[in-house]
Amino acid sequence: MSAQSLIECFTANARRVPDAPALVWKDTSVSYSQLHARAIQVSARIASMDIGHAPIGVLAAKSPDSVALVLGCLMAGCSFVLPSATLARTTREKLFAQVGCVAVLSEQDVDLGATGQAAAQPALTPDSARVTFMLTTSGSTGTPKVVPLTEGAIDRFTDWAGEQFGLRQHSRVLNYSPLNFDLCLLDVWATLKHGGCVILVDPDRATDSGHLHELLGSNEVELIQGVPMLFQLLADAAATTGGVSYRSVRDVIVTGDTISAGCLATLPALFPNARLYDIYGCTETNDSLMHEIDPTTLPTGKIPLGLPLPGVRTLLVDEDGGVVDGAGTGELYVWTPFQAAGYLDPGLDEGRFAEHPHRADGSRYFRSGDLVHRDVDGTLTLVGRNDFQVKVRGVRTNIAEVELAMSEHDDVAEVVVVAMPDPLAGHLLHAEVRKAPGAELNSLVLRRFCAERLPRTSIPSTMRISDDPLARTSTGKPDRQLLIRTITERRRG
């Protein structure tokens, strides 16, 4: 069965249930007919520009108009690049030039006075091979890599998401991530395809735990997807308000990073009626592996990455380039029905997209760069990033494993470990730790804890334990580059 078109389904929803809420933004609801009318305006405007199939740039700071902008692009059948709203202007302009954008649209281009005219839709010829969304990878330096996704890939993914999480009319889904993130393919675009309502979190208030608490409590949210930071914020809010729980939530998806055991342990009480999922994916392949966590027997150690989604193929490739059959460890190669065939600039594919090492099976795999262990029963578990391997005194050390071990201490709220270049040791590890509120943790205690769990060389040489939150990137991941710079300056000064 071929996948249903996202934009055709959205248009059908606007006709079928025009008054159903499509979006909630800052206490205001936008109906399907209203959103559709705005998208039509955008689409008409693109048609009037007469640009053929040339790509356009979309500045999509989160808002209903930005959602309409993307829908309008889909209606017009054009390719559009969706950079981060926080990208520096010069980087953004470089990106648009690199993609060859002939025009740039922003929410100011959506006519706010539009009224519902669901009949006035332009002709659309679905083409599963046509590139629509062009997302960017969240590189912290340089120009982001552009990941072109075809209509077919988007449609297959949004069908899977709808089926897996039972998205339908009246489904109420929280969207936490910024609009340019791949996560939105699930919480925004799949929801709109299936007639549900998206509760948009204002990125300016995304770290305000009181606001998040209020938003969840007042909107009867059923599906919530987010990076571990979101759940840490909710757990912190719950700890101060005392025993709050979100009973309307049926599905919780943790994605984007490894959740700490401590944070995970708070989820069953926060979401007593929910099924808990950990999803592994990246911009290039979209969601790839999923693990359902049993709330009654939470894992004490690592949470498995789980099993491939339907239609997803995985390979583990060892250091010598051989394919690991059965149990073993290697770099994870992934092929998904939702993925990009390569980067927009084929010159960047080298080392990232690859054929099967031994036999061409017609698939172009994405090399995840993640070192993964496969169990006898096929369950995959993350060992660490390939590039998280550093040598400390000649001993290969995995930073992710050190972080994981330290995060298991009850008094550690968050920890990030970085490798500082050292003329003598090659690298020395530094741990930046935020302790749990009220905890009296010091390095004597934490060092002993590490010594019981880690090889000697993996114990960070220096630790800074404080109540300060860790610096994070716009994607919610620890900002390791910033931390390295800060430490370097601290030591110099």
Binding site: R393, L428, N442, S443, L444, R448, F449, A451, M463
Partner: protein, 86 residues
Amino acid sequence: MNRIREITKFVIEEFLPDVAAGELGADYDLLAGGVIDSLGLLKVIAWLEERFELAIDDVELAPDSFRTVAAINDFVERAQQPAEVG
């Protein structure tokens, strides 16, 4: 300053800057506790040589001599004895 106190102060300043001196007992196992590793050991020895004017011969460097503040103190004590005439 009492030598034990002085060694404790050094270990804390160098390896446990956020720890109060009273928290580190003279019998605390610095190796098993992850406080001092082989690289740290080099720092301790360099400091002992300078501070107590010891000439530490490589053969004497058994990690056990540096396992605790008390052991380090004993080590300094022994190293300061005039060498026996053979």
